[in-house]
């Protein structure tokens, strides 16, 4: 039965297929480069189902407790409670809560693919390298991580201070890799002890995920002297030894980003008596996260905003003061970094200077690979392949700037490596959009009566207590607050007709999918339109008021037309007979009334 569908049926089907919101992802998970199902696990937390919440988180990421603490949570910036009321759901803190309360090895998916006989070397055990390792092990490849430090975790370990991310959390979550069978070569520096060429020869593929661990120091006037360091070196030494050799009592940190704040707050904890933060940006333009700024202020960090370092002054071979000039603006009309200085001068006293003014990817290829801004390797943006066959890049070395992005690039590189090892095309049929952040087109109006319920905040240690040690200062949610916060979630999905209609649930996830498939195939099983009760309940609840029953009725007509006037459904033979009788003389009558 070749059915010719009428224009009207095709037209309304197209409207529904393109406009139905049923498969639009919520804003949070579309924005997350790893597409963590934030809406899903927040709902589960709100229902008190913490094991299920952890399983849901772990479907996408293996570091729930870590990300719950340090993720820059781009999901919260696009949360509907942010755009509507300026009170986003505390997605990250809820993830941490679920992880702290319920994560355990029994919930971990430790299945790995059949061994493929292929070997992959990954350089760096940070979030990008680790994610790539996880995904490649799951695909059945043998994976060895080369880590130059004696500890795993990369910047998570040596870039993020302990008071934000305790070692124990990281250690526990990284055991996942070992359990999957990932091998480590610790303390081996690629580019020094072993070359990239050696790796390329010994392995079937290589992923470079060694991060941006070279702290940048601008050229500043003044004699060469002691007491000056950069953020990367300072934080790494603290992370590994709990001490800093360079640190004195009066510290100036140069820079206004989150790393600068990490340095300032860490310096206080490591024994500094006075810490000043010197930034080019004005106070209201600081790039650092507001809650990090607030934490630093509470702890006594002095902000000197709108000042540019002109010259270091030294005494006895150690820095003793900084000469500053006021900074009128940081960027020029074209938005380029180009500070414009005024004519005001000032001097601040210090014995230690920490530059948190950027970091760079070090070349470990011996010049074999081209580098661009910040030392990032030149890669194909879609596949992360390089000019050298079998060598891929991930993480900050490929351009990510936050942990969750690094992980997404790790996953992307792993997808490419897997294809490469199977001899497949790196791009054919691949949905690149789903491999990184994208925008949700969800546009269902807010439910009438949705109120602005304020965000619930986590408990923190007092400023006095927290500057004494490197102990974690955010204490997270208690049960009551977590429930309240999770239940604030607006659950940005449209399932209205699917809640109402039993029939649709038998055939699809939403009308958009159903009619999209119909248009794609050019046909539909007759049982689908002939299962509609034509009750219009779906239309009644649909924000777009799509008339699904009209489409089904139109399809039925077209099917009858193609089937010589009869319904294609076998059981409808009875109705044919029924209808003939209902119009027959035997069962009908007309009696005209008289006075």
């Amino acid at each position: 039965m070749a059915v010719q569908y009428t224009e009207q049926v095709l037209k309304i089907s197209t409207e529904v297929a393109t406009g139905c919101q049923g498969l639009q992802p919520p804003f949070c998970s579309a924005e997350c480069p790893m597409h963590t199902d934030a809406m899903g696990y927040v709902r589960l937390v709100g229902e008190g189902r913490l094991d299920d919440a952890v399983r849901k988180i772990r479907e996408r990421v293996f570091l729930p407790g870590t990300l719950g603490r340090v993720c820059a949570h781009p999901c919260e910036a696009v949360c509907r409670r942010e755009s509507e009321f300026g009170q986003p759901i505390a997605v990250a803190a809820l993830k941490r809560y679920a992880a702290d309360k319920a994560d355990k090895e029994e919930l971990w998916d430790l299945a790995v693919g059949q061994p493929t006989g292929k070997k992959v070397a990954i350089v760096g055990s940070g979030p990008a390298g680790a994610q790539a390792a996880v995904d490649l092990r799951k695909a059945g490849h043998a994976v060895t991580i080369y880590e130059k430090l004696p500890v795993v975790g990369g910047m998570l370990r040596v870039g993020i201070p302990n008071y934000r991310l305790p070692d124990a959390v990281l250690d526990f979550e990284y055991t996942y890799l070992t359990k999957l069978g990932v091998e480590y070569k610790m303390g081996v520096e690629v580019g020094k002890q072993v070359s990239l060429v050696d790796l390329s020869l010994s392995y079937d593929a290589v992923v470079l995920a060694h991060g941006a661990h070279k702290g940048l120091m601008p050229n500043v006037n003044g004699a060469v002297c002691d007491g000056i360091t950069n953020a990367v070196d300072f934080l790494r030494e603290l992370a590994m030894t709990s001490k800093s050799k360079v640190l004195g009592k009066r510290v100036a940190v140069i820079g206004g980003g989150d790393v600068a704040i990490d340095c300032a707050r860490s310096a206080l904890r490591a024994g500094a008596e006075e810490v000043q933060l010197v930034t080019l940006e004005k106070e209201n333009e600081l790039p650092a996260s507001p809650h990090e700024q607030e934490g630093a202020r509470e702890e006594g960090v002095v902000f000197r905003c709108g000042w540019c370092l002109e010259e270091t002054v030294s005494q006895g071979g150690r820095v003793s003061a900084l000469r500053l000039k006021d900074c009128r603006s940081v960027k020029d009309e074209n938005g380029q970094f180009n500070p414009r200085l005024g004519d005001q001068d000032t001097e601040i006293y210090c014995d230690t200077v920490i530059f948190a003014t950027g970091q760079r990817v070090e070349d470990i290829s011996g010049g074999a690979m081209a580098q661009t801004n910040g030392g990032r390797y030149v890669v194909d943006g879609d596949t992360l392949a390089t000019a050298i066959p079998g060598v891929f890049v991930a993480g900050d070395a490929a351009g990510s700037t936050i942990v969750i992005q690094a992980m997404a690039l790790g996953r992307k590189a792993a997808l490419s490596v897997d294809r490469y090892l199977k001899g497949q095309d790196l791009t054919a049929g691949r949905d690149f959009k789903s491999e990184y952040t994208y925008e949700s087109k969800f546009k269902v109006p807010l439910e009438a009566g949705t109120e602005n319920i304020k965000r619930v905040h986590t408990q923190v240690l007092s400023a006095d207590e927290r500057t004494k040690t490197f102990a974690e200062c955010d204490l997270g949610f208690d049960d009551e607050d977590a429930l309240a916060e999770a239940q604030r979630c607006l659950q940005c999905e449209c399932k209205k007709c699917m809640i109402e209609c039993l029939m649709l649930n038998d055939f699809t996830r939403c009308p958009g999918e159903l009619f999209g498939t119909f248009l794609g195939k050019g046909d539909i099983e007759p049982i689908v339109p002939y299962s509609c009760n034509m009750c219009n309940q779906c239309t009644l609840v649909c924000p777009e008021e799509y008339k699904m029953a009209d489409i089904f009725a139109g399809m039925r007509k077209d099917m009858v037309k193609a089937n010589h006037g009869k319904s294609p459904i076998k059981g409808h033979g009875a109705i044919d007979i029924h209808q003939k009788l209902s119009f027959s003389k035997m069962f009908t009558i007309k009696r005209k009334g008289r006075k």
Partner: protein, 248 residues
């Protein structure tokens, strides 16, 4: 015009309703014929034209000023055709009133009856009001499910899905029964009544409550006549004979 399912269900209700209307409208004509809704639901466009056309001819033959219909599908079919002024039986009852002796007859009943509205007339407030007015006049205590009036749910019979997808139809019927706050249910469509019985409910047609004995908590509704084709067709024939005798 009683439609199809009502005469197949109950010739007694046809007889009493015809008499009731005749008291108000002495010149009452009666037509027992299908409107062709099932043909339409199947998508048989050409057959529908022919069948609905034969009904239109009957109406014209009877020189009718206004059609009173007891079936919600007939109402929609006739209104869509825009050929005749058409009104629902349930909507005119409050206007013409109930026979005196029936008013308050169920005031002593211990039954609390859930109201199920027919989904083809979900937008017809006057019909919903009429049904509730009748229940109140009779003295029955009623209760509304969450999904009621314009938000009512299908009984499971709609769209001719029973022969096409009986398993799904059964689930829709059972779901609708779950919506009902009480065991006893009143409907104003004989097909809805049949669905409600199949879904496990105790369902009465509004005319059962009007013309029949007072229903209590313990009352058992009449059997599901429509589930037996033989009984249904015999009833349909009996209804025809009743009409023939009453309109002379």
């Amino acid at each position: 015009m009683p439609g199809c399912s009502l005469p197949s269900y109950s010739p007694e209700n046809i007889s009493k309703t015809v008499q009731y209307l005749k008291n108000t409208y002495p010149e009452l004509s009666v037509i027992q014929k299908c409107c062709g809704k099932p043909t339409k639901a199947l998508g048989q466009v050409d057959l529908l034209k022919q069948r609905f056309g034969s009904l239109v001819q009957d109406i014209k033959d009877c020189e009718i000023d206004e059609m009173i219909v007891a079936c919600q599908n007939c109402l929609n079919m006739l209104r869509e055709s825009k050929e005749f002024k058409t009104v629902s039986l349930w909507e005119i009852m409050p206007k013409i009133g109930l026979p005196k002796e029936l008013r308050g007859k169920a005031a002593g009943s211990d039954a609390v009856i859930s109201i199920h509205d027919s989904c083809p007339v979900r937008q017809e407030t006057a019909i919903h009001d009429g049904v509730r007015w009748v229940m109140q006049e009779l003295g029955y205590k009623t209760v509304e499910p969450d999904c009621t009036r314009e938000r009512t749910r299908c009984c499971g019979f709609g769209g001719m899905i029973v022969p096409a997808n009986p398993d799904l139809a059964k689930r829709v019927m059972e779901r609708r029964i779950k919506d009902m706050p009480t065991e006893q249910i009143v409907v104003y469509c004989a097909a809805c009544r049949s669905s409600m019985l199949m879904g496990g409910g105790k369902a009465w047609h509004l005319l059962d409550l009007l013309w029949g004995p007072v229903v209590t908590k313990a009352s058992q509704p009449p059997e599901n006549v429509l589930a037996s084709p033989v009984k249904a067709w015999i009833n349909r024939y009996k209804s025809k004979v009743v009409i023939k005798r009453q309109i002379t």
